[in-house]
Amino acid sequence: MAETEKLICSKCKKELVLKKTNFSYLGHSFFTDLPKCPDCGMVYLSEEFVKGRMSEVEMQLEDK
């Protein structure tokens, strides 16, 4: 599912909005905008994001 499509939080029934979201991996922290529920703060991670940019960052930080 593309990140631009309308997404609804299954718990709060609110539309997700793009919000700055923080990640950390192997001691490093990063941020990017991701769909987030304005009420409960649940973040939606699309398959495209996980298999794309997120795994690229992981790979860049892993050593030999």
């Binding site: 990640f23 991996y25 192997l26 001691g27 490093h28 922290s29 990063f30 941020f31 990017t32 940019r53 795994s55 690229e56 960052v57 992981e58 790979m59 860049q60 930080l61 892993e62 050593d63 030999k64």
Partner: protein, 449 residues
């Protein structure tokens, strides 16, 4: 007298007759030695750690005991007791060379006939695993072969994912068309012999002033988008004090230069004399020198052992240049070898090499001119001129285009070969349909010239 403590029981060879014998790693004060006795030729001892850092935390816990019936090094090729898969495969395509160096592990021989092109083609097709293998074309000096471009093209056609050229760079510096042809044939990166930033160093090691031609080779490779890693053989009293300058020289030329690789001298092939402990440059000493000579720009804690080699064989550091800062991507204290997206350490190592040493297409016309670099942590909240390093997209952009590696490999010779290290080797020479660990392949009796 300082007492000895046994740290680990291993195996080695007698440096005089090459017979496999038992050996021990022992500590005496803060120094660690490999000690072994041949019933015929006596006791030999070689320093392996000078004590700048704690060897136990560097090696880690759980180094396995050697099997009793271990066949090292005579069974090499590879046996069921070998612990690492192949990361990189070396194919020697000539014994000839256009230099006459005082130190040469390959023991160049200009009278020896080269393997034929069809023999090399057959080897390439047998050794290459499609879209996976990293092949190092080596020698002698591989560029002296007139059909090198055709060999690179054949390696590509056979399915090699990465093709590396191990070269002194003389012909790459002299002949730009040659570099263009190699690039078009599919050469991925060049491992450029680069022993220092002063001609006096080349004069002593290579019998010729070579700095200008090395720089020419770097420029020619950059023009055709071939990644270059500078490779320094380090010898006491010749260039160990040039380590910091070599790193600075490389950093100034990023992304033309993708990294610096250090090989403390090993004593096989042609050697001027039997080495003393003073002649040895241990892995901890090199790390100590790197931190000291770069004045902390590269810190010891940002250099880590590699998972597909023994910790006493290799280390690496991975950095990105962000504006005027050199940002380390790994930290020894925080490293977590269990967290990985690639399971086999050999595969992981190969992909690390590939993504760091190759110049991606996006770098074709890129120029980055770092001024005076200062150390920085990825934790820093400071924004650079161009972006915030914590921004995922910006980080990905610079990690791909502005990365720089410091790597090292400490080869073993008849004096310090340790079967526990040999079992973990993932750098293999392909010969006669066998994959042979590098230090086993080149192992030779000490024969002083």
């Amino acid at each position: 007298m300082i007492s000895e403590k046994l740290l680990y029981k291993t195996g080695s060879v007698c440096p005089i007759c090459l017979k496999p014998i038992t050996a021990e790693r022992i500590s005496r004060g803060k120094e660690i030695f490999l000690k072994k006795t041949c019933s015929q030729h006596g006791t030999f001892e070689t320093i392996i750690w000078r004590g700048h850092y704690d060897i136990n935390s560097w090696i880690g816990n759980g180094e396995p005991e050697l099997p009793e019936d271990l066949q090292c090094p005579n069974g090499c090729g590879l046996c069921p007791d070998h612990l690492s898969n192949t990361c990189c495969t070396i194919l020697n395509i000539t014994d000839r060379c256009n230099l006459n160096c005082n130190f040469c592990l390959a023991d160049q021989d200009n009278s020896k006939e080269d393997p034929t092109f069809s023999e090399i083609k057959e080897s390439l097709y047998k050794l290459i695993k499609k879209d996976k293998s990293l092949v190092q074309l080596s020698g002698g000096e591989p560029t002296v072969r007139k059909d090198l471009v055709e060999i690179v093209r054949t390696a590509k056609e056979a399915g090699a994912k990465y093709i590396q050229l191990n070269t002194n760079g003389v012909l790459l510096g002299e002949n730009k068309q040659f570099v263009k042809d190699l690039a078009e044939a599919g050469l991925s990166f060049v491992f450029l012999q680069f022993d220092g930033t002063e001609d006096a160093i080349y004069q002593k090691l290579r019998n010729s002033p070579l700095l200008d031609i090395k720089q020419k080779a770097i420029e020619n490779c950059a023009e055709y988008n071939i990644g270059v890693t500078l490779v320094a053989t380090l010898v006491r009293d010749i260039n160990i004090n040039n380590v910091g300058e070599i790193i600075r020289y490389g950093l100034k030329q990023m992304p033309k230069v993708r990294g610096v690789h250090f090989q403390p001298v090993s004593f096989f092939g042609r050697i001027p004399k039997i080495p003393s402990d003073r002649d040895r440059i241990t892995i901890d000493e090199l790390i100590y020198e790197i931190e000291g000579q770069t004045k902390g720009l590269i810190k010891a804690e940002n250099l880590l052992p590699s998972s597909c080699y023994h910790a006493l064989c290799s280390f690496h550091g991975d950095f990105v240049i962000d504006n005027d800062s050199l940002v380390p991507l790994q930290n020894f204290r925080k490293a977590n070898k269990e967290t990985t997206s690639v399971a086999d350490p050999a595969d992981r190592n190969r992909e690390f090499i590939g993504r760091r040493w190759e110049r991606p297409e996006s770098l074709k016309f890129a120029t980055v001119k770092p001024t005076v670099l200062k150390p920085a942590a990825l934790k820093s909240e400071a924004k650079s001129c161009c972006g915030n390093i914590h921004d995922m997209d910006y980080f990905l952009k610079i990690a791909k285009s502005q990365s720089f590696t410091i790597t090292s490999m400490l080869f073993q010779d008849a004096g310090n070969i340790d079967f526990s290290r040999l079992r973990k080797c993932s750098l293999h020479v392909y010969d006669k349909e066998k994959f042979i660990p590098f230090c086993s392949y080149y192992l030779s009796k000490w024969d002083v010239q």
